[in-house]
């Protein structure tokens, strides 16, 4: 991979922020978009903007073809069996809510168990809290080790025959922990539970094969993997999706409608009410083209180098605490002694370095780490080793600045 040529494809990276070259290290929040994705969406709006699955006119047919082609690209990208298993959503949050409300609500009862981990993003936590409260089901947690990993033996003894749903993030958005979701799925299935995987932080960075994982549901967002915001995916095994009642009803999802009742369209459209984010879906298709052109293995390997360099440089700085395991996906969470993460973030921003500071939508995890917030630098394959070095320099200077003014 030629990093300089990759960077040329991302117009936003060629700018200065606060008088410095932009160093964008907030990729776990959202990724930047290559020209090809932007142009694909412009083309849709300039050349064939139309609603899908409705008109029989020429533009409507082109739009529908492109929209469904993108679904097929997504199917191949995650190796689903059928395009019927690819439901467009607004993002991971909506995908997970659809599972909780469309699948969980009707099937859970008093005493049934849902098991998640302490490192879940609020999107894979609050829907389960809500569904547990409504059904009388019990929300339980796999124990987490001090380094932010899961111990499979402890996972094994936590799942019981009362467990109906296990829902785990494949990669932690705070710690970068890569969870053994394939093995956890096997354990869940031995007890007759279904396995939900939050793939928001894994899908952009590694090869995903939903059949190999044997995930029953898999959720991810377009905007973290070069695509636009407002488009995401719910993958579900066809038999489970067939059984699900739609949470939203209205246009485009019907078979036949009478005065008192209606029947539903086939999958995937049954679960996609209303006019979808057509430009978004087509843009996500272009994002997948770009990623596959570079190669997911190449991306993963390159990001491992970036992450290892960042981890090593930061762990050498006195007064910097790093969170999470040594082996991790592309991000580092840290704190500088005596300096609040927001103040760190403001200082780095004044050097053009964009990082995230806060609880990262994972407040229960923060209480496990015994801190209220962290600074997170998260990488993507268009980041350079120079940028990692700029981060380390910025952290040292931040430490000195606040050490000086105190």
């Amino acid at each position: 991979m030629d990093i300089q040529s990759v960077r040329q494809d991302f117009p936003i990276l060629k700018q200065q922020v606060n008088g410095h070259n932009l160093v964008y290290l907030d990729n776990a929040a959202t990724s930047q978009k290559p020209s090809s994705v932007i142009q694909t969406m412009v083309d849709y709006y300039e050349k064939y903007n139309s609603n899908v699955h409705r008109g029989v006119h020429t533009l409507g047919t082109v739009a529908t073809d492109r929209y469904e082609e993108a679904r097929e690209k997504i199917r191949r990208f995650i190796n689903a069996k059928s395009e019927k298993e690819i439901i467009y959503t607004t993002g991971t949050t909506q995908s997970l809510n659809l599972i909780a409300y469309g699948y969980g609500l009707a099937r859970l009862g008093v005493g049934d168990e849902i098991i998640i981990t302490p490192m879940e993003h609020h999107a894979n936590l609050i829907p389960w809290q809500q569904v547990a409260q409504k059904t009388g089901a019990i929300l339980r947690y796999f124990p987490m080790e001090a380094d932010g990993t899961l111990d499979l033996e402890k996972v094994r003894v936590t799942v019981t025959d009362k467990t109906k749903i296990v829902s785990v993030t494949e990669v932690s958005n705070v710690l970068g922990t890569v969870n053994p979701v394939k093995e956890i799925a096997k354990i869940a299935h031995e007890h007759g539970a279904i396995m939900v995987v939050d793939g928001a932080q894994s899908t952009p960075h590694m090869t995903v094969d939903v059949q190999d994982l044997d995930a029953d549901f898999f959720a991810f967002s377009g905007h973290k993997m070069l695509g636009p915001t407002g488009i995401g995916v719910l993958y579900g095994k066809q038999s489970l999706l067939e059984d699900m009642e739609p949470v939203e009803t209205g246009g485009e999802m019907i078979d036949e409608v009478g005065f008192q009742s209606a029947t539903w369209a086939e999958l995937p459209w049954k679960l996609e009410a209303g006019t979808p984010h057509i430009a978004g879906a087509i843009g996500l298709g272009a994002a997948i083209d770009y990623l596959q052109n570079v190669g997911m293995d190449v991306i993963q390997h390159y990001e491992e180098q970036l992450t290892e360099t960042a981890y090593n440089l930061l762990s050498k700085i006195d007064g910097v605490t790093l969170y999470g395991p040594g082996k991790r996906s592309g991000l580092v969470s840290f704190n500088i002694d005596g300096v609040h993460p927001h103040d760190v973030s403001t200082a780095l921003d004044s050097e053009g370095i964009a990082v995230r500071a806060g609880h990262h939508c994972a407040q229960p995890l923060m209480s496990c780490l015994k801190c209220e917030s962290t600074v997170r630098a998260s990488f993507y394959f268009y980041n350079s080793l120079d940028e990692i070095e700029a981060l380390a320099r910025g952290i040292k200077e931040t430490k000195e600045f606040f050490g000086h003014v105190v």
Partner: protein, 151 residues
């Protein structure tokens, strides 16, 4: 010299309040009201206690955790409003909010050390940090109003 604009935000008086907070604690007892307020996007937390008598803030204390801006602002706020008429407190909180947003504001009112936070207006992402404690005061005054209406 790096960060040469940053000391316009992190002035020494701000860092002094952050490291040596004034009026930390809680008040309970007669005529006291305590409220909590969070900044959910970033996790800053503030608790403000007011003791009110004859339409005056006779005492004020705060507890909280968060960044230098949110916590120093709380500390400075307690110094600025202690002993003031409630009417004056409303004017100050409005004035402070206008100042940190970079709007025209009334210079006649005495914000005390909190004046040092005017640099926040150059950092729009941090305005919410600066105003948290002041919004909490307004919330506490609304609570006190409700309680006295019920009695």
């Amino acid at each position: 010299m790096l960060f040469n604009n940053l000391d316009q935000l992190y002035r020494s008086v701000i860092m002094d309040h952050y490291k040596k907070p004034r009026n930390r604690g809680t008040l309970d007892g007669d005529n006291c009201v305590t409220v909590n307020m969070n900044n959910p996007s970033c996790g800053d937390k503030i608790q403000i206690s007011l003791q009110l008598k004859d339409n005056k803030v006779v005492d004020v204390k705060y507890l909280g955790s968060g960044c230098a801006i949110s916590q120093s602002s709380a500390s400075m706020m307690t110094e600025a409003i202690k002993g003031l008429d409630i009417e004056k407190v409303h004017q100050l909180t409005f004035d402070f909010s206008e100042m940190v947003q970079g709007h025209e504001h009334n210079d006649d009112l005495d914000l005390g050390d909190a004046e040092a936070l005017h640099g926040v207006s150059q950092y729009p992402a941090r305005i919410k940090c600066a105003t948290l404690a002041w919004k909490a005061v307004e919330k506490a005054l609304r609570e006190a109003d409700k309680e006295s209406a019920q009695q």
